[in-house]
């Protein structure tokens, strides 16, 4: 579920970046005042938003991958195993007598 959401977020981020790049490149090629102001404000805003969205998507994807990963020490196979027998006490190593 989270993985699918991350993929959608990445797609939106990519589309946003493409729009922002076209916007900013057009202001460099045709530097009209209005286009320049819009590109350097709205264009950069879209680009920043897209980057944040992408980083969120990566974080979400990593979180989803982490949920699927089961560490070895918590695996049911180990929990079900009988406890190992305690080694016999060594003579002279016990608690001191009162």
């Amino acid at each position: 579920m989270k993985h699918e959401m991350a993929k959608k977020m990445v797609l939106f981020s990519v589309l946003g970046t493409i729009v922002a790049m076209i916007f900013m490149a057009s202001s460099i090629v045709y530097p009209h005042p209005l286009l320049l102001v819009l590109a350097m404000s709205i264009g950069q805003g879209i680009a920043i938003f897209a980057l944040v969205l992408y980083l969120l998507a990566v974080a979400l994807d990593l979180q989803a991958s982490g949920e699927m990963y089961i560490p070895a020490e918590e695996s049911p196979a180990l929990e079900a195993a009988p406890p190992a027998e305690a080694p016999p006490p060594v003579q002279g190593s016990g608690p001191p007598e009162a």
Partner: protein, 216 residues
């Protein structure tokens, strides 16, 4: 072939190249829809993070440099008469003579009209935003040169500090020429343009409603 002769052009070329690479990476992702593995994520980090960052930095610097130039100032129709006069090789107006100076002539509007103070560049650009808003709301559809709009005026009186960036008020020749007025000019009681007032005569003459010092 694209020829690069200045830092501004180099920055523009870098910005355009990075924008193209970013768009290509984006299109590759949209078309191929690869699995989000480490390689894809790294590629997207370049396309969505690194390249756009370079475009922003270089694009901002290149655009800022361009906004200092006379063609940029003259790109709003309302500035047409000012631009034509400044670029007229036969004109003897102050604007035209200063625009013919090879050291700063290409940036003559900004050189004379920018605020001469610590954060002058910032306040000048803030005023530029105000110009753009005024142009769109009051002049844009009022004739080829915005004739139907209200008279253009400066936000504050033109100060001699802008002239004294280049014309030293302590040079021997200047002191000799200006005689008794020298101290008054230095202290700000008198302004350079009180006497040297043929600044934008053609642009001034087309606005009869503009009073003294109203249109510069």
């Amino acid at each position: 072939m694209l020829s690069i002769h200045s830092t501004e052009q180099l920055l523009k070329a870098i910005a355009l190249a990075c924008a193209a690479l970013s768009v290509l990476i984006g299109i590759w992702y949209v078309v191929r829809r690869p699995h989000l593995n480490r390689g894809t994520k790294s590629m997207l980090l370049l396309g969505l993070g690194a390249f756009p960052l370079i475009v922003s930095l270089t694009g901002n610097i290149a655009s800022f440099e361009y906004t200092l130039s006379r063609p940029f100032c003259g790109s709003c129709h309302v500035m047409g008469p000012y631009l034509r006069d400044a670029e007229d090789p036969k004109s003897n107006s102050l604007a035209a003579m200063h625009s013919r100076n090879h050291k700063f002539g290409e940036n003559s509007c900004y050189t004379c009209h920018a605020d001469y103070q610590m954060f002058g560049a910032i306040t000048t650009k803030q005023n530029g935003m105000k110009h753009l808003f005024k142009y769109l709301t009051e002049y844009a559809s009022t004739g080829p040169d915005g004739e139907g709009g209200p008279p253009i005026h400066l936000y504050k009186p033109f100060k001699s500090g802008a002239c004294m960036q280049c014309h030293s008020a302590t040079a021997k020749k200047w002191v000799e020429t200006h005689g008794d007025s020298a101290e008054a000019i230095r202290s700000g009681e008198m302004n350079c343009i009180d006497c040297h007032n043929e600044i934008h005569p053609l642009a001034l003459s087309r606005r009869p409603t503009a009073g003294k010092g109203a249109v510069q």
